[in-house]
Symmetry: C2
Subunit: 230 residues, 2 copies
Amino acid sequence: MHQPSPTPLERKLSAFAVLASEEREILTNLQGRSRPIVVGRDLVHQGQEKQSAYILTKGWVSSYKVSMEGDRQIVDFQVPGDFLGLRSVLLKTSDHSIEPITHVEVAEVSSAELLSIFSSHPRLAAAVLWAASRDEAMVVEHLIDIGRRNAAERTAHFLLELGTRLSLVGLGDRTGFECPLTQYHLADALGLSAVHVNRVLRQLREEHLLTFRRNRVTFDAYDRLVAFAG
Amino acid sequence: MHQPSPTPLERKLSAFAVLASEEREILTNLQGRSRPIVVGRDLVHQGQEKQSAYILTKGWVSSYKVSMEGDRQIVDFQVPGDFLGLRSVLLKTSDHSIEPITHVEVAEVSSAELLSIFSSHPRLAAAVLWAASRDEAMVVEHLIDIGRRNAAERTAHFLLELGTRLSLVGLGDRTGFECPLTQYHLADALGLSAVHVNRVLRQLREEHLLTFRRNRVTFDAYDRLVAFAG
DNA sequence: CGAACGCTTGATGGCCATCAATCTCTGTGG
DNA sequence: CCACAGAGATTGATGGCCATCAAGCGTTCG
């Protein structure tokens, strides 16, 4: 029995259902064809219809929309183990752009392939859809962040949620996580200016709640931080 | 051939796919058992798991979450033809509360029933899921409203989207729609204070863009309004 | 070494929250 | 029929949060 270390996707789905070894094997095969992506080129453009979904195996990307005035709202970040364009494939609608943040590797899954697996392995389908639904629920949390929290709470809450997500795939814990985002990314996600994000991060750092620095988010006091963010 | 006037749900799904008469009949039967709901009582509470979904046949409800500090963020409004708790049924997660805004009538659809119809009539399933996905996409638009538009644009854009949705089910057009919302509802949806919503509505009225008054939203100049909202 | 990018900090001002008061409208009961 | 209560709408005054403009610093990379 060789038991290679689980991929992020396998770790994530394991949180929803115990997977049979055959199911794990299917997942491993899907991700075997992982290939690098040219940084800076959009995978999926606004409104475009795609025949494939992608499993993100390495790196981070952002999903965003651009308004007329040119400013950008980041709807969500995707991290290893997340699907890209799953809804586009299943429902033939794609409504936002995707841009790599780091060097990225993805495994392409054709629409036909995905549907075939879904019908032959319904338990796997349920786990995938459950995970996808959980990610969509995070968009709702994000909405509440922006609508009803001030800048500091919003920032703290957002980074905590991100940490929770990364923990699910083994890329973070209660002490923090590696984070390739710039303060500009955070600003575009939180609906703030980059200048103000900087001030808020300083405040959080001076209150020993969290430290956002050079590719790393450190939770200086996890419990107090949770209390602060709500 | 009797051809009763189509229900909101039938009108909405017809926008996505041509339905066979057998499929229309299934929809009609589902909604036949419509019953009134006691106003003021929540249908689904935060975190609760339900075994049923509901089709909203009459009236409006809101989906919202309440923060620690007690203020409320309305995530979305549901109007006739919309499903309530569809995701809860399919995925066993329910993440927000639902509250009636007007007198409401719903048809209950059990989880088993829904799944049975989905497997026997895949085209119908596709139409339902497509419509549901479209509604989820509106949450993303809503996120951008709150994150990147000022109060006036935000309000205008939101009411325009609502008008578009209602037109789909025959309850509105380019001149406007009947609207039971109070300014407090709008404030909770837009992440603004009720006082400021009032000022913004006055501004929009004085610029002859739209009029929000006593149960009716009137688009005074649809094209200019679209240009204004983006 | 220069340019680009990201981070940091100060000064100014505007958008919108908050507090407060008044007004209208509706429904209710004496 | 009128008094009253309550919800919703409206308007003014004040202030705070955060955007914007501007300048300077550190690091990376061609």
